[in-house]
């Protein structure tokens, strides 16, 4: 543990917050699906991966300007999330929980292997966006503009999502369905539509995360969703699975924690992924409901 100057600490902190914001966006998808279906959507990481490929092909193959490609990718990813729900989860909704869990794992493998067959196994380079990837210096901290944009996007989307859930009819339907499918149905809520919408929103947020991930780490391959998928699942559990604000907090804790671990204990850098899993075990042992877990009323 060496001493650290304030400048260096700030540099680490900005890096950590930026990484944490990406984790947060993906973690929201896990937590929303869990809230409404009590299901760990293992295909979420692979939906994230698909979003990166969609934006890659939009720019590289179809020559779209980056913003157009990104919007198309977000829409396609939302659709993909809804299709996965309809094909792999809806038919099993009344069967035992373990069946639907196995189906989720199957969907994950299917998407990964489809990506290998369709897109090929070699990594591709994500298109660069000059406007966002320019390097700038603020005080003593050197960073890409993107590093500042990511947390802003994440927090804006979080605010929008909370508004949607708490202040709109669809949001009310989501809250109702998350409490009890049957009763919500009897009250006139379209349960299927609400669940599909939840998957659509969760996947769209994952797509936003995926696009920013692609710009930050411009290397894409069919298995790139696995580790972020696992880590964001952990982030969702840390924050209290089912709770959206919790997922964002969990994402930040994980991102900043990882960077600070490497920064302050350089000899442990090889254990960076282990850190996430140890954190998961500790949380499950001492606070299984996660940080925000007790506020059950906010569950979606």
């Amino acid at each position: 543990m060496g001493h650290m100057t304030l400048d260096l600490f700030l540099q680490h902190l900005t890096n950590g917050i930026s990484l944490g914001s990406l984790y947060a966006l993906i973690a929201i998808g896990y937590t929303m699906v869990y809230g409404i279906l009590r299901l760990i959507n293992f295909a979420h990481g692979d939906i994230f991966m698909m979003a990166v490929y969609f934006s890659f092909f939009g720019v590289a193959t179809f020559g779209m300007p980056w913003y157009a490609a990104f919007i198309v990718a977000i829409i396609l990813t939302a659709l993909l999330g809804m299709v996965v729900e309809r094909a792999a989860y809806k038919p099993l909704r009344e069967s035992p929980k373990v069946n639907i869990l196995v189906s989720a794992i199957g969907a994950s493998f299917l998407l990964q292997n489809l990506a290998v067959v369709i897109f090929g196994g070699r990594p591709k380079a994500f298109p660069t966006v000059k406007l966002l990837q320019e390097v700038m210096t603020i005080g003593s901290v050197t960073l890409q503009r993107l590093t500042l944009v990511i947390p802003v996007v994440t927090l804006t989307l979080l605010a929008g999502l909370l508004f949607l859930i708490n202040n709109t009819k669809s949001g009310m339907a989501m809250r109702a369905v998350s409490k009890d499918h049957e009763t919500a149905g009897l009250m006139g809520v379209d349960v299927n539509r609400t669940i599909t919408l939840t998957f659509g929103i969760g996947s769209a947020l994952a797509a936003v995360g995926a696009i920013m991930w692609g710009m930050k780490f411009p290397q894409i391959n069919p298995t790139m969703g696995v580790i972020p998928g696992l880590k964001c699942f952990i982030a969702a559990v840390i924050g209290g699975i089912g709770n959206i604000t919790g997922a964002v907090i969990g994402g930040f804790i994980l991102g900043v924690g990882e960077i600070m671990l490497v920064a302050m204990l350089p000899s442990l850098t090889g254990y960076r992924d282990a850190f996430a899993f140890i954190l998961l075990i500790v949380i499950l042992l001492f606070k299984p409901t996660g940080i925000m877990g007790e506020k059950i009323s906010e569950k979606v």
């Binding site: 038919p91 299917l110 850098t269 992924d273």
Partner: protein
């Protein structure tokens, strides 16, 4: 309804397994006919090392196309995908020796993957010739594993000399892919050589680790930069290495980066972009100065077929095939043990990437080539002869 869904899911899963399991394989099906000799190509076709594997497969296929027969029989290549994964590599090697009944194996790109197959080829007594696996442990204590490239102790010395003599470095930091035997080995040999050159035990000012598939290296880079090294040595896979250099430049770290042979893939430049300009590494071969008569054949045919310049490992994949073919010819039989004995005797063999003489360990002693990334291309800089 439930049953139908279950059956459908089983169906989908099976199909996806079949698609991926058999996708990259060239041939499947019945046991080989008597008039065909089968040589396995054991390479990463998917996963993190896919680009490297594909380059070697290109070389083996080109050689097979130019020299398709031996002992009057057709030679058939059986390509299996080891998926850039040590466990999958062991499975893929078992598949080649047990089911595909190959008489010899080419590969793999990546020392860790080759080492995963070590015991399998040894126990099955099927000779394997690695094209570009440079870690000493690949062939050490294994009579059935050979290679047509130089070793990391030499490569480490070459890069240490480069850092010390050409770049005038006195202090070096290392960032290594800690889960990769190749990277850790090369980092160690570099360290030994550099400490000896400078006579300074503290010449390596920082060693930072990362894992395969990591994406974020900002914290490691900041730690390293804080020690003010003259040069950063970064042995590791091409994708991670490209991201490391990119992120260093994006955080205002302008220290030069040097590395090893694994960098030479098109992806290193695609992913690294303008940030990897000036990165220097050692490799096996350059198309700019053909060494042998076989180099000329190889370059002519490769350019005609692919319309681009070949990578060093492509030339080595080509050579691995030729060495096996010559051994089958000399053995006068397709018996794997006899082939092994002939491979072990390889002396002054004219390969595309230079002359090949295998020593008692089954290793080739060859010169190294230094290349630099310039204007989005790998450019030849220097050739370093082996010391012995």
């Amino acid at each position: 309804m439930k049953k139908k869904v279950a059956i459908f899911l089983v169906f989908v899963l099976t199909i996806s397994l079949i698609l991926v399991g058999c996708g990259p394989k060239e041939t499947a099906g019945p046991a080989p006919a008597d008039d065909v000799i089968r040589i396995g190509v054991f390479e990463p076709i998917t996963g993190d090392n896919a680009a490297g594997g594909e380059l070697e497969v290109e070389g083996a296929k080109l050689a097979n196309q130019l020299y398709p027969t031996v002992l009057g029989k057709k030679v058939e290549l059986v390509v299996v995908d080891n998926k850039s994964d040590k466990v999958e590599a062991a499975n893929a090697a078992s598949l080649l020796v047990e089911k595909e009944k190959v008489v010899a194996i080419i590969g793999s790109w990546g020392s860790s993957l080759s080492m995963a197959a070590g015991d399998i080829v040894k126990n099955a007594q099927i000779p394997a010739v690695a094209a570009s696996a440079t870690n000493p442990l690949v062939t050490l204590g294994n009579d059935y594993y050979f290679r047509v490239c130089f070793l990391d102790p030499f490569q480490g010395t070459v890069m240490a000399n480069y850092a010390y003599n050409k770049l005038g470095a006195k202090k070096v930091a290392i960032i290594q892919e800690v889960s990769n035997d190749y990277a850790v080995g090369l980092a160690k040999f570099f360290t030994d050589a550099f400490v000896e050159l400078t006579g300074d035990k503290e010449a390596i000012v920082a060693v930072s680790n990362y894992n395969t598939r990591d994406n974020d290296f900002s914290a490691q880079l900041q730690n390293i930069a804080a020690k003010n090294p003259d040069v950063i040595f970064a042995p590791g896979n091409f994708t991670e290495s490209a991201l490391i250099i990119k992120q260093a430049r994006q955080q205002g770290i302008q220290i030069p980066f040097i590395g090893g042979d694994t960098w030479e893939t098109p992806e290193f430049i695609d992913i690294g972009g303008e940030e990897v300009e000036g990165a220097v590494f050692s490799t096996f071969f350059t198309s700019e100065t053909p060494i042998t008569s076989e180099s000329e054949v190889f370059l002519r045919e490769y350019r005609a077929k692919y319309g681009k310049e070949p990578a060093a490992v492509t030339a080595l994949g080509y050579d691995a095939y030729l060495v096996i073919l010559a051994a089958i010819e000399k053995a006068g039989s397709a018996d794997p043990v006899k082939i092994r004995d002939e491979i072990a005797k390889t002396t002054d063999f004219v390969g595309a990437a230079g002359m090949i003489t295998l020593d008692a360990n089954g290793d080739a002693i060859k010169s190294a080539v230094i290349k630099v990334v310039k204007d989005g291309e790998f450019k030849y800089q220097d050739t370093i002869e082996p010391t012995k």
